[in-house]
């Protein structure tokens, strides 16, 4: 058996080497001019095809005489209604007429009522600490004049979560019941999760028109995959004994699903819900930048005015919303898995309704309860702006020289070197590496994805992305791994660090741009800082996990063998943690890539920028293809690192996720 496998492998290598040589030869002979350079013009007009296809879809496609665009616009309008209703309830109230004839029929929910209601639910779910946080958050949003924007955002989030949840559950249940579709679904989900966030917006904008409902469809498409995944996993994790019980008690299919499978799967489903909520919030923030309104739009508008103070205030509003939503859904998931009884019950409902309704009714008499009075609105924007300009003036020299040095001596040369790289050589080298790590299938898929980037004409831009990603990942690892390894040895610090990491990872990506731009203005260096601050969290987390799960008996054995601390680390801890660390590298890369696209907002020149520009110009083809190039980059790195981790697992034991 073993010799067979070896021989097979040997043949594989012969074929592999031969195909690399042939490929290189053909590249040199047929395309001499492009071998050394980097092709920027597409050989195949994939972008144009996509463009034409989209145009056809939007203009000409029809189903049984009904134009597709009419259908999608109708869908958009249908989706518009509930979102608007929710916005009215939360923020605007029912109004008829306009201008001086405006009369209010129903007031919006009072900020006080909503805050108290939220605090009450937070208290029931997680105790007084979260309730206090909810009250402070509500006061902050109201008193800083961010309430309406926050409620617009919240309305979209709630509606999108609802839709993503239901669709995700339905799809997940389907996928679970038909095991042969499951891998297909998973493959689609993987691609969907690596395609940058902006690429979702383009086709939906074209199909569904401009406005919050287009953002809704993009958001649902973006946030649904984790729910599908969580549903499949949760249903698979239902113990076989429990399924036997359902059959032995004579449950029908429906009874099995609703009374046995879903309740038993609930804790895992709740974790999926948490993910959906956080991804939805992230997407809603991004989507609001293209005109849907809300907190993301406030941040972007303030940034364009260089009003860092206002951007920071809106950014903080996003942060409190994110933390509140995350902690509440997590508390829900925890209660589910602990099996304690929920917050349902008539009494709870009555208290909740009272808390919300009484201030809302009172707001008819006291307008300050409906909306925080303008005169009393607080702002720390001015002092913040002053502080930022003071820092920039006072420390202009060190900051600017740091930036210039990094750009001129490190970043630009590295980028140029990557872009100089002859692509046939680069692709073959990566494919060979993939083949060595993960076998023929990995080599082939990596090669195909590399070729896609070349023929679509995004090679240069992709190298631009790659250079930022590599630098950001290296920096994140250089900072994150040592810190994580250090923390792992200090049990007392771990809880605090975990909380910090959790919070960092819940923040929508946009928030990370603010500090970097405040200090270093636009450009690649700010982008690098922003990406690193976003992607350092997984590096720390996986370093801690990897070190904590080193089998204690191996450490004891090392101690008994008389290893020094360094020797124990070098020969026992590090090898045992290696698989986990490699997964950490993978996660860091994925986070860096997803941030890359957001970083395009501060003026980088790479794929993210291509996507963003296409979005602002409404060019579907280039936007989608550039987005797919980002996905290719992500999947290539993913393939390599996963294969490397699998090899490390074979040698050293288990990876801890």
């Amino acid at each position: 058996m073993a010799s067979d496998a070896l021989r097979g492998k040997g043949f594989g290598w012969v074929y592999g080497a031969a195909s690399v040589v042939v490929f290189l030869a053909v590249s040199i002979l047929v395309l001499p001019s492009d071998f050394a350079g980097s092709p920027n013009a597409p050989w195949l007009g994939v972008a144009a095809w996509v463009d034409r296809a989209m145009t056809w879809l939007v203009r000409d496609a029809s189903i049984g005489g009904l134009a597709l665009s009419d259908l999608t616009r109708a869908l958009a309008a249908a989706a518009q209604a509930p979102i608007e209703a929710m916005q009215k309830v939360l923020a605007e109230g029912w109004v008829t007429g306009a201008g001086f004839n405006k009369t209010q029929i129903l007031p919006p929910m009072s900020w006080l009522g909503l805050t108290l209601g939220c605090a009450f639910v937070a208290y029931r779910l997680a105790g007084p600490a979260l309730a206090i946080f909810a009250v402070v958050s509500g006061l902050y949003l109201a008193s800083f004049g961010l309430w309406i924007s926050a409620m617009m955002t919240l309305a979209s989030v709630l509606f999108c979560v609802l839709v993503a949840l239901l669709l995700g559950l339905a799809l997940g249940i389907r996928a679970h019941r038909a095991p042969h579709i499951e891998p297909v679904v998973r493959a689609i989900m993987n691609v969907m999760q690596t395609v940058p966030i902006f690429s979702y917006l383009l086709p939906t904008l074209l199909l569904f028109g401009y406005g919050p409902s287009a953002a809704l469809f993009a958001t649902v498409a973006y946030a649904m995959p984790p729910m599908v995944h969580a549903t499949v996993l949760a249903l698979q994790a239902v113990p076989s004994d429990t399924l036997d019980l359902a059959r032995m008690t004579g449950c029908s299919r429906r009874q099995t699903l609703w009374r046995v499978e879903l309740p038993v799967a609930m804790p895992r489903l709740a974790i999926g819900l948490n993910q959906v909520v956080m991804m939805t919030l992230n997407m809603v923030i991004i989507a609001s930048m293209i005109g849907a309104g809300g907190l993301g739009y406030d941040v972007l508008r303030a940034l364009r005015r260089l009003d860092f103070g206002a951007a920071f205030e809106a950014g903080m509003a996003i942060v409190v919303l994110a933390v509140l939503l995350d902690r509440m859904t997590q508390a829900m998931a925890r209660r589910q898995s602990a099996g304690t009884t929920g917050t349902s019950g008539l009494r709870t409902g009555i208290i909740l309704a009272g808390l919300v309704i009484v201030p809302t009714l009172a707001s008819l008499a006291v307008p300050a309860l409906a909306l925080w009075p303008k005169a009393a609105t607080l702002s720390i924007a001015q002092p913040l702006n002053d502080a930022v300009s003071y820092i920039n003036q006072r420390f202009f020299d060190p900051l600017d020289s740091l930036r210039t040095f990094a750009l001129l001596k490190l970043m630009n040369p590295f980028r140029d070197a990557l872009q100089m790289l002859p692509w046939p050589l680069a692709i073959s080298a990566v494919a060979v590496l993939a083949g060595w790590l993960g076998g023929r299938g990995a080599a082939f898929s990596v090669f195909a994805m590399g070729l896609f980037v070349v023929v679509t004409g995004y090679w240069s831009a992709t190298m631009g992305s790659l250079y930022l990603t590599i630098l950001a990942v290296l920096l994140s690892l250089a900072l994150g791994f040592p810190f994580g390894i250090w923390v792992a040895a200090k049990p007392r610090m771990q809880q605090g660090v975990q909380l910090l990491l959790d919070t960092l990872q819940t923040l929508p990506t946009l928030v990370y741009l603010l500090p970097a731009v405040m200090l270093f203005r636009n450009g690649d260096f700010s982008a690098l800082i922003a990406i690193v601050s976003y992607s350092v969290a997984p590096a720390v987390r996986y370093a801690i996990d990897g070190m904590r799960h080193v089998p204690p008996e191996r450490v004891e054995a090392a101690a008994m063998a008389g290893c020094s601390k360094w020797q124990t680390f070098r020969y026992v801890r590090l090898p045992a943690a290696l698989p986990t660390l490699l997964l950490g590298v993978n996660q860091t890369v994925m986070m860096a890539l997803s941030m890359l696209v957001i970083a395009a907002l501060v003026g980088t020149r790479e794929l993210g920028q291509q996507v963003f520009t296409s979005l602002s110009q409404g060019l579907a083809g280039p936007g989608i293809v550039a987005g797919l190039c980002v996905a290719c980059l992500a999947l290539i790195i993913d393939t390599l690192l996963k294969a490397a981790a699998a090899r490390a697992v074979q040698r050293n034991g288990v990876a801890h996720d």
Binding site: P239, D241, T242, D244, L245, R247, M248, T249, G250, C251, S252, Q255, R259, V260, P263, V264, M266, A338, G339, T340, T341
Partner: protein, 344 residues
Amino acid sequence: MTNFGSSAPVALSVSNVWKVFGRDHGSFKSRPASARTAEAMAKDHLVGAVQAASFDIRKGEVFVIMGLSGSGKSTLLRCLTRLIEPSEGEIRFDGQDILSLNETALADLRRRKMGMVFQHFALLPNRTVLGNIAFPLEVQGIARAQAEDRARELVSLVGLSGRESRLPSELSGGQQQRVGIARSLATNPDFWFLDEPFSALDPLIRADLQDEVQRLQREHSRTAVFVTHDLDEAIRLADRIAIMENGRIVQIGTAEDLVTRPATDYVRRFVAKVPPARVICASSLIKAPVAAVSGLTVSGDATIADIASKIVADAGEITVVDPMGKPIGLLDRQKALETMAMKI
């Protein structure tokens, strides 16, 4: 433990049941008997998890299926209930062939006639003790209040009164399995299946629950199929024991049969550690028939270990009687003492 005469009617009849796993398991049915040996099947990558199992279980009997892990005992139990579809054979519950039933009829039969206790309890974590026990009734569409009334009866039957509104996560392992037992009896089934119900529990709790099962069987005897890998448990609970080895039933008999007349070396090694006095009954050691009682009396189905103190304390004759109190014969004291002294 009562010795089952052949008086009770057959409740569950199993004949020539096979369960074959493997890529090409569909082809099994067309194999001639000669190609059904383990070696012949292994050649075609088929594994006979259950091979030609045949037995009859009488009404009210506790039938224990015993074997090491991987011997096919749980698979056999699951074939009986059609949780696993048998590859071949015939299984009759009160004369009704369940392999011929469609999905609905099978579900109906399970609802009315079967109860099952699972190794890992299989409680629904979102339901209280009461809710879990009422679950099989709710599935049948019985009104909530009525189902909960019945569930309350069962809660007190298994000794969990006062804990009705606890969730499974708030109970100990032993208490959880009590809930599992109560739930399996909620519909008052004729057939009771127990799949290694106590192997996840520690020894003291296990003994408690074995007592519980014995008590429940005394109060209302059901036809029970009990799977275990614990010989001690099997001896305590079984009327008859079937020992499985690699998918085959190698011997079926009372504990005494297995110890005194092991059919194979495998069975002999299996029961080697059992003290004979624990399984040999008084009725097996009679020296002479008598017509009238003289001296002490012992029940015929009592084991020598049960009556050891009487044998040692009194030097007079001991009369063995049947369950009705009619004398069967005089106990052979010498043999009884030898049995007690026999090395294990």
